[in-house]
């Protein structure tokens, strides 16, 4: 009989070895599972990021590259990102995960998105899809199997994938532009007052986005003969509001004052008007800075708001606005292209009767002729709020390639002004 020695027995050793091997295999399988999950999540995240980025770029192509267009691009990218899923979980992309701006080449074929400048040759969209620890928006890390063994970092794995797409931009070359918008401030334009001023603000925003070094823009509100009672009452406040905001109104020789100290309109040559009456007008003139896409300055915004808060008064004498604009443009940089946009009800009219109205028309035509001789382009926009508009008169004021626009709906004015802006400035275009 063989003696059974438990100490030296080999029974069960295969089982022990197998358990060891099994454990190793299980760990390897778990690692493979985690890696497979992460790889899949990374791939899906990359695809979602690319889809969202392309949506952003497409939005830029369709809606333009100005600040509004960039905001729309961010929203488009967010919408597409958040409509997709990664590992069957809805993506929750944040505003901060989407960047729109200048495409900056790096080393090794990499790119980053930097702050936008108007001189950039390419605009890009970057979208990051992330599943990270501490995300407050539900983008939790990806649950894992193997990492739990180590108990590290909430037992989860983090993923972050970024995609960048861009489009090239074509910048039309042009000279710096001095542009003045002259808005009818007459009582017959009262109904269009706010809409017009709002539209002009939008035009200025467009100009901001398209501006280059040396551009400047201004804003005039003109009316005509005003009753002395208004001048000493509301007119004083009206005038003082603007002079307070725009001290340059008191400078130069283009104004004289009457005995009450109120402004007296002169023509472009500093000569008092033929009617010898006080004709206050308001103006702003702001030099745009060096083509960096500045927003309207706070001063200018304040001025626009002041104008919006005021009330139209008096009659319409286009010559006032045109002459004042000419004088300002002549005082500006000599090399600039000069443009005037006249917005009115298209109704030259004076309470002084037909003869004075005729004088208004003559004055306006003379002013336009002066502008034409000086190489100034005049566009006119007739917002037909009344039945007395004279479209041929408005068209006759146009010169040097200017266009005469007419709309019966003041709400269309913004589109008209933007069209003029694009004619004048040539919007930066995306190369197809």
């Amino acid at each position: 009989m063989r003696c059974f020695n438990r100490k030296y027995s080999e029974s069960g050793q295969v089982l022990i070895l197998s358990i060891l091997v099994l454990t190793v295999l299980l760990i390897m399988a778990a690692i493979a599972l985690d890696i497979g999950t992460l790889t899949l999540a990374a791939e899906q995240s990359q695809h979602v990021a690319e889809a969202a980025t392309l949506a952003g770029v497409e939005s830029l192509r369709v809606n333009g590259i100005d600040s509004n267009g960039q905001t729309m691009a961010v929203n488009a990218a967010l919408a597409v990102a958040n409509a997709n899923k990664v590992l069957n979980q809805q993506v929750q992309c944040l505003n901060s995960d989407v960047q729109v701006g200048q495409l900056i080449p790096g080393t090794g074929g990499t790119y980053t998105i930097g702050p936008w400048t108007d001189s950039a040759n390419a605009i890009g969209v970057s979208v990051t899809i992330r599943r990270e620890t501490g995300a407050s928006n539900g983008n939790n890390p990806i649950p894992t199997v193997f990492a739990r063994v180590f108990g590290s970092n909430n037992n989860n794995m983090q993923i972050k994938r970024t995609a960048i797409a861009s489009v090239q931009i074509y910048h039309p070359q042009r000279k710096p532009i001095s542009l003045i918008v002259a808005q009818d401030g007459s009582s017959s334009f009262q109904n269009e007052w706010t809409t017009t001023t709002t539209a002009i603000t939008q035009l200025f925003q467009l100009i901001n986005n398209a501006s280059i070094s040396g551009d400047e823009a201004g804003f005039i509100v003109f009316n005509a003969v005003l009753p002395t009672s208004w001048l000493s009452g509301q007119g004083t406040t009206f005038y003082n509001d603007y002079t307070k905001t725009y001290p340059q109104m008191n400078q130069g020789t283009k104004y004289s004052t009457d005995t009450s100290g109120l402004p007296r309109l002169c023509d472009a040559n500093g000569v008092g008007d033929s009617q010898g009456q006080e004709r206050p007008l308001t103006m702003t003139l702001t030099n745009f800075q060096t083509g960096q896409g500045y927003s309207l300055t706070s001063t200018m915004s304040t001025g626009v708001q002041l104008i919006m808060n005021d009330t139209g008064w008096g009659d319409t004498e286009h010559a006032i606005g045109i002459n004042w604009a000419i004088s300002q443009l002549q005082a500006g940089p000599a090399g600039n292209q000069k443009v005037i946009i006249v917005i009115s009800d298209g109704e030259p009219h004076s309470v002084g009767g037909q003869s004075e109205t005729n004088q208004f028309i003559t004055d306006a035509n003379n002013a336009a002729a002066t502008a034409a001789a000086d190489g100034i382009t005049i566009h006119t926009v007739c917002v037909a709020g009344t039945s007395g508009e004279d479209l041929s008169f408005m068209a006759g004021l146009c010169c040097n390639g200017g266009y005469a626009f007419q709309t019966a709906n003041a709400n269309e004015l913004a589109a008209v002004l933007i069209q003029i802006g694009q004619i004048t400035y040539g919007a930066a275009q995306i190369i197809e």
Binding site: R2, F4, S18, V21, H47, A51, V62, A76
Partner: protein, 143 residues
């Protein structure tokens, strides 16, 4: 005469016992691996299909590309669906008819490619447990 305490064959018995577990584990690893591969394939197919639709290619061309992504041949057109919607929160409908060399979806609308890739069974041991298809979907904007 065979002695009861003889150890001959014990290792074999133990090995056979463990072998079942090892083989089962190996099969599971293979199936999981194949499932991940299917998921990756479905994801890639969905991306290619959505891109094709987004860039305006016809649904026929997009379908051809999607099916071409799958080397197993298990993916058929019945496993692929193209839809579009005017808004992300709107109703998703089947693609309109192709228009000339482009699909019939208007620019700015949303297009979606959904792929249900049938799982490539190797052992078939885990059919009751494993999903029969690997699903993927990608939504993009029509260019």
């Amino acid at each position: 005469m065979i002695e009861l305490n003889e150890k001959n064959g014990a290792a074999l018995v133990e090995f056979v016992l463990v072998l079942f577990i090892l083989v089962g584990l190996m099969c599971a690893v293979i199936e999981v691996t194949m499932y991940f591969k299917d998921c990756a394939t479905a994801t890639m197919c969905a991306r290619d299909g959505a891109r094709d639709l987004a860039f305006g290619r016809t649904s026929t061309a997009a379908m051809h590309r999607v099916l071409g992504c799958d080397s197993t041949g298990l993916l058929t057109s019945s496993n692929v669906s193209f839809t579009y919607s005017t808004a992300l929160t709107g109703v998703w409908s089947a693609l309109p008819a192709d228009f000339s060399t482009q699909n019939g979806v208007s620019a700015g609308y949303f297009v979606s490619c959904s792929v249900r890739k049938p799982h490539t069974w190797v052992t078939g041991l885990f059919k009751p447990i494993f999903p029969a298809t690997a699903n993927a979907q990608l939504i993009m904007v029509r260019d």
